[in-house]
């Protein structure tokens, strides 16, 4: 048994496929590449693959994560090359490393921060936006209603916003950078921040791009300078067990 951790990119060409569809696509590519996948036992055997937090539909990302269980060890760079040959355009493994054997598994449960670049084109006023972003950050509470799931929940997003800034502004195009808490202890979605900033609507297009997934965020206050651990090879070797 061997486990490989991979960082992959989900690009423009595939941003409209759901996380479930992406999982199926990756599994099929692994089989096309003839990788020795370890299968679950039982009546319905399937490959053992863990995924990092899913991207929202329509978002791209270049720091996405997965772990594959293999029946025999495969050299990580050979793995990456052979699988990339069999992946549809827009999906690409950018890094791969072997999980140390003392680690039982890697399911990315500790990831608690996601970093996004959000590009908005169309009808936007940079100064207006700057002011609204500052207003949001100055507020102690930002309550939103989350529908869909019953019962509807009221969530305070403010503690989940670690940073929010206007990185670039041109005529009819701005870029926002945001670091948001994510994971099982609650979090904010980039679309929720965009809605709070009043950027929804027919007259503009919003592009979401995730640039990083992190673990070990310090107390997330507006002015905190947390210590960030980009999820990486070295991290896999930390903390035995």
């Amino acid at each position: 048994m061997a486990q490989l951790v991979c960082r992959y990119r989900k690009g423009e060409q595939v941003k409209w496929i759901s996380h479930l569809d992406l999982k199926r696509t990756l599994e099929r590519a692994l089989r096309r590449a003839d990788m020795p996948l370890a299968l679950t036992q039982g009546h319905n055997p399937h490959p053992k693959i863990s995924y990092g937090p899913p991207l929202p539909l329509g978002a791209t990302g270049d720091a996405e994560l997965l772990t594959v269980h293999l029946a025999q060890p495969v050299n990580p760079s050979e793995f990456r090359e052979r699988v990339n040959e069999k992946l549809p355009r827009g999906i690409e493994l950018t890094e791969a490393w072997t999980l140390p054997t003392y680690k039982k598994k890697e399911t990315f449960g500790e990831i608690d921060v996601a970093e996004y670049r959000v590009r908005v084109t169309g009808d936007v006023e940079p100064e207006d936006l700057q002011r609204r972003a500052r207003e949001l950050l100055d507020r102690a509470e930002l309550t939103v209603h989350r529908g869909g799931r019953r019962p509807e929940r009221v969530v305070n997003l403010r503690p989940h916003i670690i940073s929010l800034s206007l990185a670039r502004s041109e005529r009819e195009e701005v870029e926002l950078h945001m670091r948001l808490r994510t994971g099982s202890h609650g979090g904010a979605r980039p679309q929720e921040i965009v809605a709070l900033l009043g950027l929804e609507g027919d007259r503009r297009i919003v592009y979401y791009h995730r640039t990083g997934l992190y673990a070990g965020a310090e107390t997330p206050t507006p002015h905190s300078r947390g210590v960030w651990h980009r999820w990486s090879r070295s991290r896999s070797h930390k903390e035995r067990g």
Binding site: Q13, V14, W16, I17, D21, R24, R28, R31, H43
Partner: protein, 584 residues
């Protein structure tokens, strides 16, 4: 079309991946380097259309030829249609996002009667006039084909040409004619291809209400259109590099066509009558294709496609070889169609070592008498033996298909369905012992639909009231925690019958229904039977005249000019045999 604009549309529709292409094995050819460009269109959603093998075959045949190109398009879901219409955008192909109007030909399949309104909607969204008479030299040729082509009349007035029968050989002849250039010349050349029906070269003769009266050729056109079929299935092109959808299509697996045609001779079955003769692929070919397809697609299941896969001559050997090669890689084998007998179950047991899903049998009728009338070769003993074998092999879930309303059916026959189900449940409880709690039985009820080219083509469908009555009886009689009963809406069955036996006048009703907003009729939430009744009435027709008419053997029928290989006299003899048997 700019990607940027399309993103706006995609962000506002459900399942945007229906419209994005880029799947593994999808092809992108350079339009400037080919002689003819085809858009292959399935008039249903992406997921349904991509599950049809015919689309994959034609896509492969055309794109394998250096002179031709094929891209795909599907019926947009109403939310996408609304986005396109509100922005004044035309329907486009998936691969290159080329407006459909810019292709040389649109190949549209006729999979099922209830998709016909979608075809008109697609033409309209493409900006192509729905009537050939209104099309100009710059419009693409509209060419039909597929299962519905065996009675092309209801859609005849919307198509430039319709291929009757199997397409893998004819498609290259069609492409050559399309590449010829101008519309008139192409139409003339299409008319010379065997199996290709050019509706404008014919006119309908109507002799009373309903499907009475034939079709007469105008000067020079052949009197009969002979169905095309591939004589050597083993040598026929078969794509092992099938497109792998991102979305979960209805069938997400390798489709291995092991056999085409069926000789069991069920008298209600149109496919059995129109896909003859029975042809098989050799074991060697199938094993090679299975290896290639698994390597090229990465699917984890191989489905053995045939009307009755257990009738394949070397089925035992095929299954054993496939399981031996693929089981340890986690790749399963599936058979979509089983015969209800112990042999089939033992086969299913061999192949389902990887995945044990439910088993499906189709007794069709509840009494031996009625099964003999419809020529369903199944005895109750076989069914119980199959169930016994299934339970002892570990299955606890069964599915049964029945049909209500076949000719000569009485309330007693309907009650016998419920009785058979009850006895099977009791048998299962006894046979399963401690596992009885896990027993589940799905009972699926369809209605008999008289279909052209079958021995029952002259027979009336039961009225919707009569069908409702039969369903009501079953609802009262079939109850229980372990049983799940599902059925086809009687209005859907009536429309299917009316269109399947339709003549050219029915095309006007289809157009009227589409104008009133009918589309996606095979999707329950979109089907409105009252609207269809009104549509028929608007063009002075009655749907019941088509669905419920008892036709005379001597009458001319709207599909008489289509020759599917079985003489009308032979169908008549078979029908007479069905009805004399029950008197004997």
């Amino acid at each position: 079309m700019q990607d940027l604009d399309f993103d706006v549309l995609l962000s506002r529709v459900t399942k945007p991946a229906r419209y994005t292409d880029g799947e593994w094995n999808a092809l992108h050819k350079d339009a400037a380097r080919v002689r003819a460009r085809f858009a292959l269109i399935s008039p249903d959603t992406y997921e349904v259309g991509m599950s049809h093998l015919g689309l994959h075959i034609l896509y492969h045949v055309l794109n394998s030829h250096p002179d031709y190109l094929a891209e795909r398009a599907f019926a947009p879901w109403p939310d996408m249609e609304q986005q396109l219409r509100s922005r004044g955008l035309p329907l486009m192909s998936l691969e290159s996002r080329t407006p459909l109007r810019d292709f040389d030909a649109l190949g549209i399949t006729l999979p099922y009667e209830l998709t016909y309104t979608n075809i008109l909607n697609i033409l309209d969204l493409a900006g192509v006039p729905i009537s050939p008479a209104d099309r100009g030299p710059d419009d693409p040729l509209i060419i039909g084909g597929g299962p519905g082509a065996v009675n092309p009349e209801p859609m005849a007035e919307f198509f430039d040409a319709i291929l009757v029968g199997e397409g893998e050989e004819a498609i290259l002849e069609i492409a050559d004619a399309v590449a010829a250039g101008d519309r008139e010349e192409t139409l003339a050349r299409l008319g010379e291809i065997e199996g290709l029906y050019v509706p404008s070269h014919y006119e309908g003769r109507f002799e009373g209400p309903g499907p009475r009266g034939g079709v007469a050729p105008r000067s020079g056109a052949p009197t009969a259109i002979k169905r095309r079929f591939v004589s050597d299935l083993d040598a026929a092109p078969f794509p092992t590099n099938q497109i792998v959808p991102f979305l979960d299509a209805v069938h997400s697996r390798v489709t291995l066509e092991i056999m085409r045609g069926c000789t069991r001779g069920c008298r209600f079955c149109q496919a059995g009558a129109t896909y003859r003769p029975r042809r098989e692929r050799t074991l060697d070919t199938l094993l090679r294709q299975a290896e290639e397809a698994v390597a090229a697609t990465g699917y984890d299941e191989i489905s053995l496609l045939a009307f009755t896969s257990v009738d394949y001559s070397h089925i035992d050997e095929l299954v054993a070889s496939l399981v031996a090669r693929f089981a340890d890689r986690g790749i399963g084998v599936a058979m979509p169609s089983l015969r209800a007998d112990a042999f089939s179950v033992s086969l299913a047991d061999k192949i389902q070592q990887v995945r044990k899903t439910g088993l499906t049998f189709a007794p069709e009728a509840g009494t031996q008498r009625l099964r003999e009338v419809i020529h369903k070769q199944l005895r109750e003993d076989d069914l119980f033996a199959a169930a016994e074998a299934a339970f002892s092999a570990g299955w606890t879930r069964l599915k049964l298909f029945f049909m209500i309303g076949p000719p000569t059916e009485t309330d007693d026959d309907v009650a016998a369905i419920a009785d058979l189900v009850r006895r099977l449940v009791a048998f299962a409880r006894g046979s399963l012992g401690p596992r009885r709690g896990r027993f589940q039985l799905s009972v699926s009820i369809a209605s008999f639909v008289p279909k052209p080219h079958t021995p029952f083509q002259w027979t009336p469908q039961a009225s919707t009231e009569a069908l409702e009555h039969k369903l009501h009886l079953l609802h009262q009689e079939i109850r229980g925690r372990a049983i799940k009963l599902s059925w086809t809406d009687s209005g859907v069955s009536a429309l299917e019958a009316a269109v399947s036996r339709g003549d050219r006048r029915v095309g006007r009703a289809i157009e009227a229904a589409w104008s009133m907003g009918a589309k996606f009729d095979s999707w329950g939430e979109h089907f409105d039977f009252e609207r269809w009744r009104r549509a028929f009435a608007q063009v002075d027709l009655d749907l019941c005249d088509y669905a419920n008419a008892a036709l005379e053997f001597t009458e001319a029928l709207p599909w008489d000019h289509i020759s599917c290989g079985i003489e009308k006299s032979a169908l008549r003899r078979e029908a007479e045999r069905a009805f004399t048997r029950q008197e004997a």
